[in-house]
Symmetry: C2
Subunit: 482 residues, 2 copies
């Protein structure tokens, strides 16, 4: 009799197990369905009633450039608080931090002089660079393609203006890779040249645009060497300058000559007026939706409010700011009460100090906050393609289950690695899982840090779709945690 | 003794089988590696030395609009032959076909008259539409949102100008879906309105751009009804016109009024001069690389050379033409001798007749050609995202193995369905497998058939990346067949 009883028990167990599995499956399907319905509504809310584009217009056209320490920054902070309030934040505040205060000091000027003939060059002083002062710095120019070449030709450097003419690598399909490859010349180029006695530096802009706008960005002086003036030059002018130098060499080196290092007689004149004023006060602008179930678990979503002074900062990073506010607006408009606390943050001073992001993490530590996730949009307001995650393997497994829910809105790729400069400190301090929106990158460096980064360069729909993908991810993190 | 022998035989067989599988695997890995190396070289060739952008500049800026029958068409054909020759075609020829010859006849004009005040409207006559003639057609306007509404209010239609104000659906993430949803009003709207006695038609442009440029495109008259003039109107003017009509209704319908269908007193005046001239001669422009192993197996890659007359046709479809030529140039520059014959085709008359694509398939049939594959680019020169295939299940399985080889260059999605208008006849006549490049679609309908579709709207790098993805696919089809 025992065997039949065991057999029946086994059957009953099997049926119970099957029912349990089935119910787990069905509840998961039901959850996926209700999530997909919610995300569809969220997308419709944003695609039909977004204020992101109009917010961007006001931020770029009425406020404009907003480098840390500038009056634009102060106006932008006031605008940010008001925009967060209009979007429906439960509360808003400004989080104070000290920010560097670099000023351009006037119009950057440069020219190339060849056989006494002067040719204007389109340049922009690098951020944080010191100026030449009102007297033009004029010196022979020396073109190099790499730090290795600079080192090999170090005997020639003294008294020269070094021209780093390293092309942005167009064979790198993902343009951020080309940026990573080239931006050492902007960051370290001035000090590396000063090390061998250069008087100034001209850097080829990090871009493969077809125009001639020069692209600025931070340089970092090494305290071991003299600080020397440094500018970025537009691509067409870089090619012209390089052509003049080559021509001058050809003339200086008649056929059959064995001279090892002929001199180019091209001179470059620079006049820049950049300098630092004392650090001043800036703010992260924060809006919050208070969590209804786990109010102490904080999700952060943001972009940075500051921009370079030579542009409207529409893609970098007005887009990220208005997308952040748009997610807040859409959640409120739909009556969505998040389980966790969501912080919408417009960070101060990403461009030349990262003081905003650093302060945000420090304050979180001081207040014993629990930061469960952070998302940043700081790669332009272009059509969304991917989300990049710096998370654990287990967290990534969980996140990958959501990919089918978000893919229909553009981010069909979920990748390992990614985040944002401003949320980096959160990740480093608390190991907070972070992610970054990765829009299509092909046009980003056409505009990045150049005067062409204006409102008109942003497409309304691409901007909104970025917000849709970000909002969907924030919703899923809020609902299921990580 | 039999068992050990069988056992040994079994072991020997197992080892042989394992070696065979291993060698198949390794040769497949080796093939994938050599393919990935070739595709990387192909990409570098295009990204470093492409002439696509310069070709597009000449086609759009020096030739410009090139509707079938126009002098622009003739110039474009000559340009196309020369460009194919420069790119290195083994041979080039023009394939003659009869094309329709619709002309706009002059500047389209429209105005709305409200209480005697005239307001200019930005319109463009629909392609193939008949004109009002030199005398303005002035009539009361009637706004509808659907064919259902038109039918319900059919009593009101007689003597009116019908205004189809159906918005482009911005909640459809893929914009071609919104286009498919809305373009019935352009295609069938005039005849549907004429059926109930309308005198003319105004159609809201199929776009969600933020500007006011009207977007033309073919209309199709139903021979059962009168042909009436028809224009497309810019989005801002569509909203203004709709607002005036609503306001006029409000004034005409005092509170408490029970009048069922009050009349708007907004009148619209149209003056258009479109008409057909007799059919004329056009040509498909064809360049060929002759196959070295299977010369009778033909692979076609192309775009269409004609454009609407109101624009430079940069995205539609100058981009597809110069990408096609670029693939030819890159193959030749790399010394690639294809196994199969590759035809590079600039099709005539896609926009208002499809006579080029039709002729190409007819000639293929007449000559007993074997067409093994065709690829078209006619969705704009934007960043590549997907390739769409109209192929059998087995063919798609084979194609999917190539996805990892192409994805790094942008087309990470391989989808079922897709092709192109011009290669449609090949598919219908021979069941030729066809595919279409599917670039990101968000900005396509900002420019489509509008005066804003100019060279400046195309990004050099996005255009080139499209060519890279197409070239990679053509290479794999050539190497492995389908």
């Amino acid at each position: 009799m025992i065997t039949p009883i065991l057999f029946r028990l086994h059957r009953v167990c099997s049926i119970l197990l099957a029912m349990l599995l089935c119910s787990v499956c069905m509840s998961r399907v039901a959850a996926q369905t209700s999530d997909s319905v919610f995300i569809r509504r969220l997308a419709d809310e944003i695609l039909l009633r977004s204020t992101a584009y109009e917010n961007l217009r006001v931020l770029t056209k009425q406020i404009g450039p907003r480098l840390a320490g500038s009056t634009g920054m102060v106006k932008a902070e006031l605008w940010g608080v008001a925009a967060m309030q209009r979007a429906g934040a439960d509360c808003t505040w400004k989080q104070q931090c000290l920010v560097p205060h670099w000023v351009r000091g006037g119009q950057d000027q440069a020219r190339a002089v060849i056989n006494g003939k002067s040719n204007t060059l389109d340049v922009v002083a690098l951020g944080n660079s010191i100026g030449t002062g009102p007297t033009e710095l004029m010196a022979p120019v020396m073109e190099v393609r790499s730090f290795e070449e600079l080192q090999q030709r170090q005997q020639e450097v003294k008294g020269k203006i070094v021209f780093y003419n390293y092309p942005f690598n167009s064979t790198m399909v993902r343009t951020f890779q080309a940026y990573g490859d080239a931006n050492k010349f902007r960051g370290q180029g001035p000090s590396q040249a000063a090390r061998y006695g250069a008087l100034g530096v001209v850097v080829r802009s990090m871009s493969h645009s077809t125009d001639n706008h020069p692209h600025t960005g931070s340089t970092r002086y090494d305290s071991l060497y003299n600080k020397i003036p440094a500018v970025a030059i537009g691509l067409q002018d870089a090619d012209r300058l390089s052509g003049w130098i080559a021509q001058s060499f050809a003339q200086a080196t008649p056929q059959g000559s064995t001279q090892a290092s002929p001199q180019s007689d091209v001179q470059v004149g620079l006049r820049t007026l950049g300098h630092f004023l004392p650090d001043t006060i800036g703010h992260n602008v924060i809006g919050e939706l208070r969590g209804t179930v786990f109010p102490n678990e904080i999700i952060t979503v943001g972009g940075h409010l500051d921009s370079w002074d030579n542009c409207e900062g529409a893609h970098d990073d007005g887009a990220g700011c208005v997308q952040t506010i748009e997610i807040l607006r859409a959640f409120k408009a739909m009556g969505y009460a998040p389980q966790r606390t969501i912080r919408f943050v417009l960070f101060a001073n990403e461009e030349n100090g990262l003081r905003g992001g650093t302060k945000y993490a420090e304050e979180a530590k001081r207040n014993g906050e629990k930061h469960v996730f952070a998302l940043e949009s700081d790669a332009g307001g272009f059509t969304p393609r991917a989300l990049g995650f710096t998370v654990s393997d287990m967290q990534f497994q969980k996140i990958m289950q959501w990919q089918p829910l978000i893919a229909p809105y553009g981010c069909s790729e979920f990748a390992r690695g990614g985040g944002g400069a401003d949320i980096g400190p959160l990740n480093r301090l608390f190991n907070t899982p972070v992610a970054g929106l990765q829009p299509d990158s092909q046009r980003y460096f056409d505009y990045h840090h150049a005067r062409s980064d204006v409102f008109e360069a942003v497409n309304k729909r691409e901007l909104e779709l970025g917000a849709v993908n970000m909002a969907a991810l924030i919703y899923l993190i809020d609902r299921y945690g990580l």
